[in-house]
Point group: C2
Chain length 309, copies 2
């Protein structure tokens, strides 16, 4: 799968994923109204609005990009109805040829991580049969529990040729509270990065390992160090756009082959029509605004990579 991601990035010239993290206040009034008229102001109504919103955005951007990253929390908040739309969104993205990074940030003791790994990336055995639960291509994983919490994901990655991205240095303001604390002179995130490199060494594709890392665009200098610590890992880079990361911050996250990173933007793309720059599209044409914003993001990153050469 990591090879597929690399190939698709080369094809599209877009080391990008779009975060499908729908909040109700991003969704245009006409979609909300129709969903609430049809299903009431209910969990089902909200889920339907999210689905119509996602589908229009996916239709508008799928040919530009290799991958999307739905954040499961934004669906889980609506309970079962929301999670059905998470599932539907994954399936629809697959129909459109997009790779799906499930932003699930799971991680637990061994037997429990095995259940998460089976449910999201692998198959669960039921009697004589086996079924995929959610069926993402990649998932994000929290490392706080150490190797035995990660290993079941590695096992499934090898079996199913899927991939994971381990949280190393997250994009949020207080990520340093624990992640930056010094251990034998080096911050915790570097120690986690060393482990990512080690875990990945046993799960190699052609050039990159199945084990990537999450490093926030908001911390470019740390990205530079982590790039060297984990040379064979793809870095998933959240925090571009709305969270403050800029194209010029991103060059250090990439390797010299122009690969090795996939930059995520969520709100900046899916709610682009709310920004002054894309207001001219109007809320009726929100998906076209998303397409324009995706193009601008791809160009911004391309420029930054060219300038860094």
């Amino acid at each position: 799968m990591i090879q597929k991601l690399a190939d698709k990035i080369r094809q599209t010239h877009a080391p990008v994923c779009i975060g499908l993290d729908p909040m109700l206040d991003y969704i245009p009034e006409h979609i909300l109204k129709k969903a609430f008229d049809d299903f009431g102001e209910t969990l089902l109504g909200a889920a339907e609005a999210v689905w119509q919103y996602n589908r229009a955005i996916i239709d508008a951007v799928y040919d530009l990009i290799p991958s999307v990253k739905p954040q499961i929390a934004m669906y889980e908040q609506f309970g079962i109805e929301g999670l059905k739309v998470f599932q539907k969104t994954i399936d629809y993205c697959h129909e459109k040829g997009l790779l799906v990074i499930g932003d699930i940030k799971r991680g637990d003791i061994g037997s429990t991580s095995a259940a998460y790994a089976a449910g999201h990336l692998g198959k669960v055995k039921i009697g004589s049969k086996a079924f995929a639960g959610f069926g993402e291509d990649f998932a994000t994983v929290n490392p706080y529990l150490g190797t035995d919490g990660v290993k079941p994901f590695l096992d499934v990655c090898k079996e199913e040729k899927k991939g994971i991205f381990i949280l190393v240095k997250t994009s949020n303001p207080s990520s340093g509270e624990f992640q930056d604390r010094l251990i034998d002179g080096r911050p915790l995130y570097e120690w986690v990065g060393e482990k990512v490199n080690e875990w990945g060494s046993g799960c190699m594709g052609d050039n990159y390992s199945y084990v990537g890392a999450v490093v926030g665009a908001t911390y470019p200098e740390m990205g530079k160090t982590l790039r060297k610590i984990m040379p064979k890992s793809f870095i998933l880079v959240p925090g571009y756009g709305a969270q403050g990361g800029k194209g010029s911050d991103l060059a250090h996250f990439f390797n010299d082959d122009g690969l090795g990173a996939v930059v995520n933007s969520s709100r900046g793309i899916i709610a682009a029509y709310k920004q002054e720059k894309y207001q001219k599209f109007g809320s009726e044409n929100f998906a076209e605004a998303s397409r324009a914003a995706a193009k601008d993001m791809i160009e911004d990153i391309d420029k930054a990579l060219q300038a860094a050469k």
Copy 2:
């Protein structure tokens, strides 16, 4: 809710929760057969088997204990059908008067943690209305992202009088890989414990804060230290029984008032009929075996607490 938990522990004399973490190979043949006959060897069939298994165990133990802890991964592995049973299990436990600790180990950047907090402990706003998604009483939370990933949970806890348990020192063998690393001479888990105490100081019930901690029964000495660092926090103690923790290891997790900890056992109770000790019940009477094992566990902990006085 933390007050309710303390009250229920006093009433039942059982500082205990039972982990409803059903794996298909725990479920007796007759239940599996019926579910597969009715719904096929499918996700729905597996989910039905889990539900029948859970219900029988809940019916057999609910009067003995204050709380249960369903591990969401064991449901999530079966996709939507599994999560429907997670929901049904929560609702049924509430009908039976049990407090429900959702073992979800979520944690993300602020806006995303807010969605998890709303979906599991609070309410999500939809138009002019508000709905509970899963509606647990407590949830477990991963601290790796720092304060801004925890704060949304604190906000919901205050608003809804719910509670959380932050992962501090987990029960698994490799938990020390990051959690035990020394920072300024003290292990990371102690620094997380300090934060738990700080976060909790702003969310106090009568005697205990809404912010508890997870500390594995498998690490009793660390539990002793953490008890002192977080005097106002309930400690959720997994790892008793099948994972190797014994009653005699547990005394240090409690305060002098006999409160302050709730000890979890999962496999040791729900799959008790598979142990030599409870084999006499037979697989047909698995729920009775669970009841006997729950009674033994309560007695074991009570003895340990008496001996420590």
